[in-house]
Structure formats: C-alpha cells, structure tokens
C-alpha cells in the first residue's frame, strides 16, 4: 500500500503525457479534415477534435477507458462483444498452455540437472528455439495440429503455442534453482548416504522454490502473449487476440487499445496471483521473512 501513491503519481504523469501526445499525433488529421472541408479551425477546436476522433492515431485515455468499460460492463459477459468473454477464452488457453509448459520445463530441468548428456546438449537448442519467430510458426502449428489425423481442438493448439513460450523461462530458472544448494548442503546428505531421489525431494526441490516462482511470473506473462499470438491464425474467432486483430482490420483504434489493456491486465493479474501464491508458499516453508 506504501506504493499506492507513487503508482498513482506515475499513472497520472503518464496520462498527462498521453493526452499531450493525443493532441500532437491526432492534430494532423484534424487540420487535414478542416482543409478538405475548406474551413479553418482554431486551436481549441482542434484540441477538442483530437479527443473525440473516430479513428484516432492515438486514442485519448478516456476513449480507451470508455472502450474498456463498454467491453467489460456494457454487455452481458456471455456476449461476443464482451471483453470478459474474450478474456475468458484467452485465459483458459493460457492456463492450459502454462500448465503444459511448466510441466515440460520442470521435467527438462530435472533431466538437465541429473544427466550430463542432457545438460550439454539441450541448453543451446532451448535458447535457439526461443529465437524462432513464434508468429511465423504459429499458423503452421495450428494447421498441422488442427487438421487430420490429429484433429486437436483449437483450445489445445493455442495452448501448445503458449507452452512453447512458457517452458523456456521455467527451464532456465529451475536449472538454476535445482543447482542452488551449495556444496555443504549436498555434502551433508552425502554423509547420510542419501539416494539421488532423496537428495532431489529433500534438498534440490525445496531449494529451487524461490527460483521457480521467479520464473513462473515471467512464464505466465509469456503464456498470455503466446495465446494471443496463437489466436491470430486460429481462425480468429474469439479471444483477446482475435479481438485485437479485428480492431486492426477496421482501424478501430479504440477497440485495439481496449483489447490491449485487457490483455495486459490479464497478464498482470496472473503475475500478481502467482506472487500471492509465492508469498504464501515461501512463508509456509519458512523461506520468507
């Protein structure tokens, strides 16, 4: 709560800048329109116009807020025009992908930590995999998974893309975490003649928890991005990604920005939720003070 005031201040500053930018970026259009209509407009008329254009280059904050309000509260949440409806679709694919990606990432990390051959071979390729432009392969993944003989439902295809972006931060963080016990902690178990399994469950896994949570926060935001990217080619029927693109086709800038903010809110909310789980877990484990 200590940070509420600073956040509000920063937000206020951003909104002020934003309004200024709105006037600056949209004025060209106002003047052009006036010129086409053959009338002159005063500065104040221009400013008023930039706040209320239908296709602004940059919509004013209140226009975006209105769009968001319209999308969230202005409809039944089951309506296809509701951001809650589209957000839910994105959310469900995100969570599925996040679960798959996290599971895969943890498994890979366990493999890397316990098997030297995997340690040496997997990491460079995991890095390379993340340099592949996801937007380029997403359509192919959708086509291949969605068609016969696999006939995977779109929810799952989207989740696969989300998982692709999720697994990497999890692998990196988890490898670091599983390797975080120092020599003394490992030696202690060695004097007990503990097995590899016991070492994993009683030392490596608990020691990795702070690292795991740090990566999960990065990963869940990545999963949202992955889902949205995957929603573009999946037939663009529903989800925040589809909504974003549709706004784009028709130059409905306000709709784009509203969807954009909804997506960022979804991601930020998920990060916060993981933060809460993190704090609870670590406190339970005695690792947070």
């Amino acid at each position: 709560m200590r940070s509420l005031l600073p956040i509000l201040t920063v937000v206020a500053a951003i909104i002020t800048l934003w309004y200024a930018a709105t006037v600056w970026l949209n004025s060209q259009w106002s003047y052009d329109q006036a010129a086409r209509a053959g009338v002159g407009i005063s500065f104040s008329e221009m400013v008023a116009d930039t706040m209320a254009q239908e296709r602004p280059v940059l919509p004013a904050p209140h226009q975006v807020a209105q769009g968001l309000w319209q999308g969230v509260a202005g409809q039944k949440i089951t309506s296809k025009r509701s951001l809650v409806y589209h957000g839910w679709i994105t959310f469900s694919a995100t969570m599925l992908g996040f679960a798959i990606g996290t599971g895969l990432g943890v498994l890979l990390a366990v493999g890397i930590v316990h098997d030297r051959a995997m340690d040496m071979s997997v990491m460079p390729w995991a890095i390379a995999s993340q340099t592949v432009p996801i937007l380029a392969i997403a359509p192919m993944v959708i086509v291949v998974l969605g068609g016969p003989p696999l006939n995977v439902p779109p929810l799952f295809s989207k989740a696969v893309i989300a998982a692709y972006l999720t697994f990497f931060p999890v692998v990196v963080g988890m490898v670091k975490g599983l390797r975080s016990p120092d020599g003394m902690q490992l030696d202690l178990l060695s004097t007990y003649n503990a097995s590899r399994g016991q070492t994993f469950w009683k030392l490596r896994l608990p020691a990795s928890m702070p690292y795991l949570f740090a990566s999960l926060k990065v990963a869940v935001a990545a999963a949202v991005v992955g889902t949205i990217v995957a929603e573009l080619p999946s037939g663009a029927v529903a989800g925040l990604g589809a909504r974003l693109l549709q706004g784009s086709y028709y130059g409905q800038t306000v709709q784009i920005w509203a969807a954009l903010f909804a997506a960022a809110t979804l991601a930020a909310g998920l990060v916060v939720i993981i933060g809460v789980i993190e704090r609870a877990t670590l406190r339970q484990m005695g690792m947070a003070r």
Partner: protein, 282 residues
C-alpha cells in the same frame, strides 16, 4: 517407412553415444562441449528428415531439412538482404537504443525510491502489453521501414532491462555500502565504483533476455506492414505462396542469428563479470 525407422535408430544411437561421451573424462574439453550439442542438433535434423520422408509429409506442410538447405544455399542474396533489413537495421538499433535508455532510466530513477515504487509496477504492466497489439500501432506511428521495427524492439526490451538494472543497483550488501559511507564517498563515486559493477550480473541477465526479444520483435513487427524486404515480410509472404522451404530458410537464419547474438552477449558477460561466482565456477 524405412526412412523413419532409420532416423529413429540413428537417434537412439546418437543419444547413447552422447550419454557415453558426457561420462568420459574428455567431456570437459572444449571440443567435446561443442560436439555433444552439435550431434544433438544433427540428430534432431535427421529425425525430422526421417519423419518427413517416412510419413510422406507434403512439402507445403513441412519441408525436409535437405530441401530447406537447398533453398538456403540458392537464396543467399535474398536472405542476406532480409538479414540486413531486419536484424542489423531493425533489431540491433532497437536493441542498442532500448537497452541504453533502460540503463540510463534505471540510474535516473535510482535516486528516487518514490519513482521506483511507482514506475516498476506500471512498467511491468506496460511490459505485459502483447507486442502483436503494439506493433501495428508503432507501424502507424513510425512508418513502414525499419524505424518502426526498431521502435517495437525498444518497447520490448526496455522494461526487462530496466527492471533488472534497478534490481542490480540495489544488489550491494550493507557492508559494501557502509564502506563507501565511511569514506564519505559522493553519490556518483558510489555509483561508479560500487553499484554499477555490482549490478553487472543483473544487467547482463536483462541484456540476454533482451536478445531473443529483440529478434522476435523485429520479425513480428514486419507482419504488420513493411517494405518488401525483411525476414518477417518474407516469412509471411512465403507462407501465402506456400513456399514453406523459404519460410524455414528464414527461420533457420533467425535461429542462427539469435543464437549468435545471445552467444555474443554471453561472452561479453563473461568478460565483464568474471569475478562473479556463477562465472568463476566454470
């Protein structure tokens, strides 16, 4: 079918060989450390080739690596032009501007805990804006050429680097700071001699994440409008033309460039943070 089984057999053999090699004392040598992942990569390619040939996957769905290699060889001028447009102009300039301004911003807000507490959560929120949404807007603002791609990259890399740098600047321990206090060192002296060096491991963490982000950002931004060159342009156009071999050739270039970029930053990191336990271990 024999192709498929052959590939799977090769895979198992290579896996076994790698596992054996990793257990040998020579595993620590540089050559083996390069060879093992290379063999792993070759195995993936052969498996891919085997699946495509063995299952008769049509080329318009997934071309075989051999076909992609052919396209790669015969299209060097196109690929080079795209590489210059997207990586050198778009990604690299955006990366430098974005990372540079992020570090500077971190130093600027460092003196004000108030700004930090306010800016970081808002920054995290902005960083969560999906680029597929931002890219069209920036293309609208900055035009179709590489400048808008660089802008997308700046937006993408700015916050990860900022957050890491701010965390890094706070990463000194109390004793290290107290030492400076007993010298009655000025703010800038403390910054230059203690906090920036101590922040380096964190900053490089951010810089490494930013490499892959920069690449993805530059390529993806081209999907939303571009001149008729660039890797993102080529990929989307080639998909429309069912020239999947070209698509994969570009993806290969992207992966190669991305890995090289990452490797370069990792090398710089090793040079700059040689003193950090994580670097000393090896």
């Amino acid at each position: 079918m024999s192709w498929l089984w052959g590939a799977i057999l090769f895979w198992l053999a290579a896996w076994g060989f790698n596992a054996w090699l990793a257990r040998q004392p020579v595993a620590k040598t540089r050559a083996v450390r390069l060879f093992v992942p290379a063999l792993f990569g070759v195995t993936l390619l052969i498996l891919w080739e085997g699946i495509v040939r063995g299952l008769n996957v049509p080329g318009v769905i997934l071309p075989a690596p051999s076909v992609i290699w052919g396209t790669l060889k015969s299209s060097v001028p196109i690929l080079w032009g795209d590489f210059v447009q997207t990586i050198l102009k778009g990604a690299l300039s955006g990366y430098l501007i974005g990372c540079g301004s992020a570090v500077l911003t971190a130093i600027l807000i460092d003196r004000s805990p108030f700004l930090q507490r306010g800016l970081l959560p808002v920054g995290n929120f902005v960083a969560a804006l999906p680029i597929v949404g931002i890219a069209p807007i920036l293309v609208m603002w900055f035009g179709f050429d590489w400048q808008s791609k660089a802008a997308v990259v700046v937006v993408m890399v700015f916050f990860p680097v900022l957050v890491n740098t701010v965390a890094g600047l706070a990463a000194t321990d109390r004793m290290q700071r107290d030492l400076m206090a007993t010298y009655s060192a000025s703010y800038w002296q403390t910054l230059m001699k203690l906090r920036l060096p101590a922040a380096m491991p964190f900053i490089f963490n951010g810089l490494k994440i930013a490499t892959t982000l920069a690449l993805i950002g530059a390529i993806v931004a081209e999907f939303f409008g571009s001149p008729i060159k660039g890797m993102g342009f080529r990929i989307s156009t080639a998909v429309g033309q069912l020239a999947l071999d070209m698509v994969w050739a570009e993806i290969a270039v992207a992966a190669l460039a991305g890995s090289a970029f990452y490797g370069l930053v990792a090398t710089l990191e090793r040079a700059a943070t040689f003193w950090h336990p994580s670097q000393r271990g090896r």
